[in-house]
Amino acid sequence: MLEQLIDIFLLAFLAIISIAIVRIRNVFTAVMLFGIYSLVSASLFMILDAADVAFTEAAVGAGISTILMLATLSLVGRDREKPLVKKKISFLPLVIVLVTGATLVYGIVDLPPFGAADNPVHTHVAPRYIFQSMSEIDVPNLVTAVLASYRGFDTLGEVVVIFTAGIGVLLLIGGRRRKEENADE
């Protein structure tokens, strides 16, 4: 009962924050709200017992993303405001969103019950991870065993993605000074 109350409270909080992000015009406030959104998501993951995911969300989503957004804001001016969009009510997007949302909600009906032990997701590879990882890998944290060993190739891909992102940032906005000096000559 208490857990459900906390769930409802946190989800309501997420909804309020996202509406606030859409409506607020000061960009600095929006960035801070994004950070709070990530922190609330991390709490939700924690309630679902996904400690590793919650850890990552808190560190990357609430920490580093906010820092990078603030760094960007310090370049473009922190008090800049989103341009005021003319309030013209158009019904087509609203209808599309409502229909899509209704379809998704209708799709929930066919999903297996949340957390049931005989759900398809729990009967495929999960039993092997749960019952044999201690004898095969001998690492108490199941998440690490799956991430680094059973799914090691996927994780290699993730690391390469991060590495590529770093290269992208360096290519796009790194080394600007050298070019300007060249231009001066």
């Binding site: 580093i64 370049l75 690490t144």
Partner: protein
């Protein structure tokens, strides 16, 4: 932020503990929540605080960009290298069983090396990104 005395003192005091916590998360990932990704982010955030307190030039003296580039590449190479090593020993790519005297020892060694690779790459890429953003904001002509 450099003229805020309290922030400077408290921040300087916090930096070593943040780094220590990052290392703890890195090497305790086998037993509790954590691992290379989280540890890399935490370790990099210590350098982010240092940049906020003392400016990007001071931090780049400690962690020059060319070192970070090398470390970022070394992390990916370490990860892929573990896979190549297991290939050389006659197993599948990233099959750690053959790395040690017996399969479980090989798994332990493989996971530690792979997580180290992840941590190195994540930490240095985040520092690189942040320094790139921060250095653009610095006024020009201040460099020695």
């Amino acid at each position: 932020m450099s003229d805020h005395m309290i922030l400077r003192v408290v921040g300087k005091f916090l930096i070593p503990y943040i780094m220590l916590f990052g290392l703890y998360v890195q090497f305790h990932g086998d037993f509790g929540p954590g691992g290379g990704f989280q540890a890399g982010v935490i370790f990099a955030s210590a350098f982010v605080i240092h940049t906020l307190l003392f400016g990007v030039r001071a931090t780049q003296k400690i962690a020059p960009e060319w070192v970070l580039r090398l470390v970022a590449s070394a992390g990916v190479l370490l990860y892929a290298g573990v896979g190549v090593a297991s290939l050389m020993l006659g197993a599948n790519f990233l099959d750690y069983d053959v790395l040690g005297a017996y399969p479980v020892a090989g798994q332990h060694l493989g996971i530690i090396l792979v997580e180290a690779g992840v941590g190195l790459t994540v930490a240095s890429v985040i520092m690189l990104m942040f320094f790139t953003f921060a250095a653009r904001g610095e006024p020009e002509g201040e460099s020695p």
